[in-house]
Each structure stands twice: as structure tokens, then as C-alpha cells.
Homo-oligomer: 292 residues x 2
């Protein structure tokens, strides 16, 4: 990751220097968020800090108003939208049963073509999904804080109306940032509002879903199943009850895999370095107060 991002900085016209000379910091290690503050303080000239990944919740308590912060927001959107299609088709086309089959199985499945899909979240992932979904004739509902219509969605509603927005859904997809407001948004009440055969997909963050409420809904058969790319905790421990359902598929945080994601992040870093040098607006600015 380090080598690729060094190359990206240089391709964008920058020079990699020691912290005490740096005008900007490209933070390459998302797992070392706790180290971030120390490095920022060791770079008194730095005014711009580029964070990796789109979700920055592990670093959010180290943000400040003294710097311009950017992150990988939007970079991974297309790959994550692709995951959303993979998960929807896995669910609707009965793929788990066919993967497990050791003899000719029963014909089952429903169409994604023309299905009713509700998205919780209206960011880059939702936009990318709607772009790919355009030829599929789905009826899409987007739930977002502002309620401002998202282009490509059949309807957009405000967060308090989320129960109504999932009531006729074939699938509900969580593609939100994790904030105090959105933590636990998929709870018993939301799951109960979904049709009994609707699938839940999570490509946001694990804590968006209240595990105990999801397990209760799965036990009671009041949802169709779940495809989860993120869990709480992550990785999901051995023996966790979510491993025990035939209608739950857990993918190991591969909305984008590291292999897919690094070239995408490198392209973003290169573009931002070029923009920074030219004095242009940077891509993926973080709203420090909103925390994403």
C-alpha cells in the first residue's frame, strides 16, 4: 500500500518528504488510526490530510478544524454497488441452495428485474447502485436524512419514514455511513416493518444492524434472509449464531477487496495531489462536524 501511494503522489506531481517538511499527509494505514494524531502534530506545515477508505469512523475522533480532511469517499462506490448486485442476485436467484446442492435441486427463485429495492443511505454507494440498476426496471426507494430526491430513485423519503419505505420492499440495502444517528438503525422495529420474504443486505458498517434483533427475525422467519458484508464485531467470531443460518451469507468485507481497492485509492490520491498543487477543490472532503 505504501509503495503504491508513494507512486501515486509522484504521479500527481508531488514529492514524498519527511513529516516536518510536509505540506500534506497521505495516511496509508487505516488500521493505525490511533497513530494519526501523533503524526499530524509532527507535521506543523501540513494543511491537508488524505485518509484512506470511505468509512473513517475509526479516525473520526482525531479530526479537527485546523486541517482540510479528505477520504476515499466515492472511490469504492462502483465496486460496492457491484457487491450489492452480487448479494441481491445471490439472494433472489437461490444461489446458496444451489451451491450446497449435491443433487439436482428444486427450481426456485425470483427476479431482480422489476423488484422493489429500498436503500438506506444516499451517498456514493446509492448513486453507483442506481446507475447500474437503471436497465433493470427496479422500483427504488431511498431513505436519507434530508429527504432531498436522489436522481434515479423512484422516491426519496426522510429517515423517520423508513418503516413505510421498507414495507413493500423485496430487499433493503444498508449503504450508510456510521454515525451516532445511524448506529442500530436496523432494529426490531425496522425488521418487523419488512415483508416476511424480504432480504436485508448490509454494505455499510456492522453496527448499523442490531445483531440480536436480526437473529430474532431470522429465528422467527419474519425476513427472507440476509447478506452481510460487514458485521459487528468484525471479523465475526467463530461460533457466532449468524454462521448458523442457511439464509445468511456473510462476505468478509469485500464490497471492494484490498486488491480491487488499492488501484482505486491510488487514482484518487494522484488526482487529489494534482488538484492540491493546482489549488483546485479536492475530491472526497470530510465534513468534520458530521463525522463522514
Amino acid at each position: 500500500m505504501h509503495a503504491v501511494l508513494v507512486a501515486a503522489v509522484e504521479a500527481g506531481g508531488g514529492t514524498v518528504v519527511d513529516l516536518d517538511e510536509a505540506d500534506a499527509i497521505i495516511w496509508a494505514d487505516p488500521a493505525a488510526g490511533a497513530e494519526l494524531r501523533r503524526h499530524v502534530e509532527a507535521a506543523p506545515r501540513a494543511t491537508w490530510i488524505q485518509l484512506p477508505y470511505a468509512g473513517i469512523e475509526t479516525m473520526v475522533d482525531q479530526l479537527d478544524h485546523d486541517h482540510l480532511w479528505t477520504c476515499g469517499k466515492g472511490v469504492y462506490a462502483d465496486a460496492c454497488a457491484e457487491w450489492m448486485f452480487a448479494a441481491l442476485l445471490t439472494a433472489f436467484r437461490n444461489i446458496p441452495a444451489y451451491v450446497r446442492a449435491e443433487r439436482w435441486p428444486e427450481q426456485q427463485g425470483r427476479n431482480l428485474l422489476g423488484a422493489r429495492i429500498t436503500l438506506l443511505g444516499a451517498g456514493g454507494l446509492a448513486e453507483a447502485f442506481l446507475r447500474l440498476a437503471e436497465p433493470w426496471g427496479c422500483t427504488t426507494t431511498v431513505v436519507r436524512r434530508s429527504g432531498k430526491p436522489l436522481p434515479g430513485a423512484a422516491r426519496t423519503v426522510r429517515t423517520p419514514d423508513r418503516f413505510d419505505a421498507v414495507a413493500d420492499a423485496d430487499a433493503v440495502i444498508v449503504c450508510l455511513s456510521l454515525t451516532p444517528e445511524t448506529t442500530g438503525i436496523v432494529d426490531a422495529e425496522l425488521l418487523a416493518a419488512m415483508p416476511d420474504d424480504a432480504w436485508l443486505l448490509n454494505v455499510g458498517r456492522g453496527p448499523h444492524v442490531v445483531n440480536d434483533d436480526l437473529l430474532a427475525a431470522l429465528d422467527a422467519g419474519t425476513i427472507g434472509g440476509a447478506v452481510l458484508d460487514v458485521t459487528d464485531p468484525e471479523p465475526l467470531p467463530d461460533g457466532h449464531p449468524l454462521w448458523g443460518f442457511d439464509n445468511v451469507v456473510i462476505t468478509p468485507h469485500v464490497g471492494n477487496t484490498p486488491e480491487m481497492g488499492l488501484p482505486l485509492l491510488a487514482t484518487r490520491v494522484e488526482a487529489n495531489v494534482r488538484r492540491w498543487i493546482a489549488g483546485d477543490e479536492l475530491l472526497g472532503p470530510v465534513d468534520v462536524d458530521a463525522g463522514y
Copy 2:
């Protein structure tokens, strides 16, 4: 099926009558192809015969030049194109391993976005696939008898050039009609021409693939895997070696399921009855000499 098609005939403005009075026959039972000739001969007034399904190879030896024959060609195309996406994303996004996982698995996968896809066949399925694939930025190659460019494909080549057309493919999709020319088209030579990590998908008919050659390629690891919606024979018998591979997913002829397909066929029958009465051209005409 019978009741739904009777309703479709009536909705199209027709009346269901005995064979000896019939101007046309709507054949509702694809499994009873052997009975077809007898019924045609019992309907001396009939000039048009509508067959069910898109692939009519079980009835092809009963066609003649005395009648106008139509079939379900194109009716199921969108549902089958949806299956193609389900199969591609199952393969590329490592879904079989995740379905089987009982603990946090390794991150693996590649993108369908921007992938190189080769289609054997340029009929309704290929057209429907290309329509859905448009926003995915795939590089698509179509192999067809005539070599006539198919709109939406990056390139179209003639059947003898098929080895070249699969040489850089991430996936090869069989979406052909079954004819003497296309039987066994996926043989050792074609499989050897594919990259070692390329996936084979078959949504045409089982006999397009030479099973022994596919098994040999899977054993040798010279293809990435296979997703097969059709097999030879079908259903695939218990204990068949194709059940034994982790990188083979067999779906039970569900390009469209009977549930998905019947309303689509009914819509076609209704439209054709209306056209027949109005003297308009019918949808899905069979080329009796070509046999599809």
C-alpha cells in the same frame, strides 16, 4: 399452464375450440413434443402453430413447411440475462466459498465491472445481456455464425474465430440455440483456448458442452470454474462427477423458473393471437430449415 394460456388466447381476442375447427394451435406442453405431430394432423384448418419455450430442439423433427411456426424465442431473454449476471457475480465475487464458510473467510474476488466477457451466440439472450451490461463497462465479444456486428458488443467474430475470441476472456457464456453445428462447441480445444482463471457459463443447452472435456479441464485446473444452468443429461444424475467440484455451481434450469416464465409466455401468446387476428407479423417465428 393450460388455464393461463386459455386466458391468454381469450385476452388476445381468440376463442378456444376443438382441434378440427382450429385455425391455430397453441401448444402448451413442452414435455409432450412427441404428441405434437398427431395433433397437427388432427387440425386440418390450422395454419399457425405456437410452441412454448425458446429452445424447440425436442420438437424440431416435427416442423414442416406447411405451417407457420412460432415459439417463445426472446420471451425469456431478460430473465436469462439476469441469470447470466447472477452466475458471473457468483463466480467473480467468490460466492460459493462464502456460502460454505462457517468462519470468517479469506477476502477474494474480482470485478465484473470492466471485465472481458465472450458470448457464444447472438440471439435474444445476448441482446438482453448486452442491454443490462451497458453500465458495467465490460469488453464484450460475440461469436456468431454470420459475424454480423451485434449492437452493444465491442466486437463480433465468426464461429471459426471462436478460439481467438475466448483467449483473453474472464468469462465465456454459452447462449446459443442447440443445432447440429453448435452441439459440442465447448470442447477440449475451446476450453484449452480459455485463460486458466476464466469461468464457463452455460445458459444454452447441456449438449453444447462436451462433459468429458469440461471434467478434464476442471481436473487439470485449466479453467477457473463453471456455472451451468443446463446439463447433459438433464436433470444431472446423482453421483455425476460434476457435482464434485467446489468451483462448479449447477442451477436447475432456472434461467427463468416456471413461475417467472409462464406470465411471460402468456403475454407472448396474447400478443400473437391479437396479431394473428389482425393479420400482422407474429413474434418469435421459427426458421424451419435452421431448426430454431
